[in-house]
Symmetry: C2
Subunit: 312 residues, 2 copies
Amino acid sequence: MSPPLGASLPGFTISAVERETGLSKDLLRMWERRYGFPRPARDAGGERLYSSGEVARLRAVKRLMDLGMRPGGIVHRSLPELDALADARSADAPGDPAPETVREVLALLHSHDAAGLRTFMVQHAMRQGLQQFVLATVAPLNRAVGAAWMGGDLQVFEEHLYTETVHVALRSAINAFPRSAEGSPRVLLTTFPGESHHLGLLMVEALLVPEGAQCISLGTQTPVEDVRRAALAYRANVLALSFSGAYPLRAAVDGLESLRAQLPPPVTIWAGGELARRVRRTPPGIVLIPDLAATLPALRSWKLPGGARSDG
Amino acid sequence: MSPPLGASLPGFTISAVERETGLSKDLLRMWERRYGFPRPARDAGGERLYSSGEVARLRAVKRLMDLGMRPGGIVHRSLPELDALADARSADAPGDPAPETVREVLALLHSHDAAGLRTFMVQHAMRQGLQQFVLATVAPLNRAVGAAWMGGDLQVFEEHLYTETVHVALRSAINAFPRSAEGSPRVLLTTFPGESHHLGLLMVEALLVPEGAQCISLGTQTPVEDVRRAALAYRANVLALSFSGAYPLRAAVDGLESLRAQLPPPVTIWAGGELARRVRRTPPGIVLIPDLAATLPALRSWKLPGGARSDG
DNA sequence: CGGGGACATCGTCCAGGACGAAGGTTTGAC
DNA sequence: GTCAAACCTTCGTCCTGGACGATGTCCCCG
């Protein structure tokens, strides 16, 4: 290894680029061979040295690929073109429902007011109620922060502070609810290995707990076999898996089908997150949750087929 | 890619092993060439298929390497031998200071009593106080759970539930403290890219907040350049970096020295975690925090040289 | 209009060679 | 005897270039 890490950025080693972009070393070399991009400089020892411009372009390409695009058509585009494509894409999504809130949070981030940001989150969570906070504030903020980060309007560390602050606010709001009693549905939450988007899980939990569900979160990156064991061990009624757009579609579907085959039918399996929108055919026995709002109807409809469940 | 993920484990692909063990594909192939271990079977297409026994051994080897051992001497050992080595190693550490507590938690984990575990954590945190809870309960529990996991006495999902539960308990206890006022030291917490051990950060935060420090956590995996920017943007007095034993020593020292060179001298830099024990020469201008308990004296001694600090 | 097959795209894996950095050891000087 | 410098061994990552299989796309046919 031995990436100079913070050495005033003379260039990125291939390892550093892999870390920064999520594109594997093999893939980076293959693109160079096939598409001629990126074409990094070489150091004295013949090793690749990527410029920060190349890294920025690669990041943009990756982002678009996570949205379903294929590399062939976009690797040669310039950074502005890629940004334009991303904008066009995100325009499909519902417009910013709370432009003023978004502006306020971005201002807090830019002014590096950690305490102010924290206060903002806590106050909004209390004022709106947990579910509404998640749906009407956090979700659009996530989109806006992601977009700002992509466009270079937000530094990495600012984005980190945002994520951490939301995390804290949600966690504390969730804790404020009492433990649910017997008879309420038990929901097991986690993600597959390689998927480390913790915030998604937490948002789902924040929607479910006020509904009286008993949530057991395993955190991120649980091997599939252990997900199965956990679902049985904790006698889960619902198994909720979350996937970001970057997660390989095939691996997700494989894992879901494997779980479906190995878990008894009464265990409902939810697959939520960006990925649920990219899936073509719904795997049998899986409930797709294409967006956060769909979580609530899914939970309520769970109670119907199990109407005979001894709730008391 | 296309790891069959949960396909009843006919064998692990090289990607799966990389994920499971943290050993890179290149390294796995190199070990096979050099040491003849592992020697995975091949599928119809000639691709490596590792057995679960090999994966277990690899995991044990990795664990010992994280403790500073070198591969040449241990790759050929059998799993029991490796376990014995690990035991001998951990015997160096202070004995289990709370064997009863440890037994109780392991029992809760084995019986899959998520609610009971949660209650246990919350009660102990309240009864002992946050700092004592971290030092006397969480730290030894972490060691015990890690050892149990290594020895196969704990399933992965049980370990995940433990981590998540501790996380929730700490977060909620930290939130119970009021925000500190002006004049108190501002501590910025994070880890370098590749280091995802969030719990370590949280434990440090739990020790500092009761001391009146203002903690700003960026979460894990902040690029070095962004750590630098964040330290300046948030006008941090102390920059606390956490490293697990698995983190490559070289990268850590490089990053620390780079930060030290680029940050003004009044910014104190702490390097904590397992790694601090493996370091030979303390890099100039860095404060090593070899164990959690050392955090408190470090914070107190910070206040002395900076007594004249112009806060207002 | 929908399903299947052919073609093109694309990501990962394989093999083996090389280099440079880190660790450990021996030598030499004080 | 002790410390430091030089040497040697160990070790991880990077390199090239080839191959295959999985996936997506398009077109034709029913």
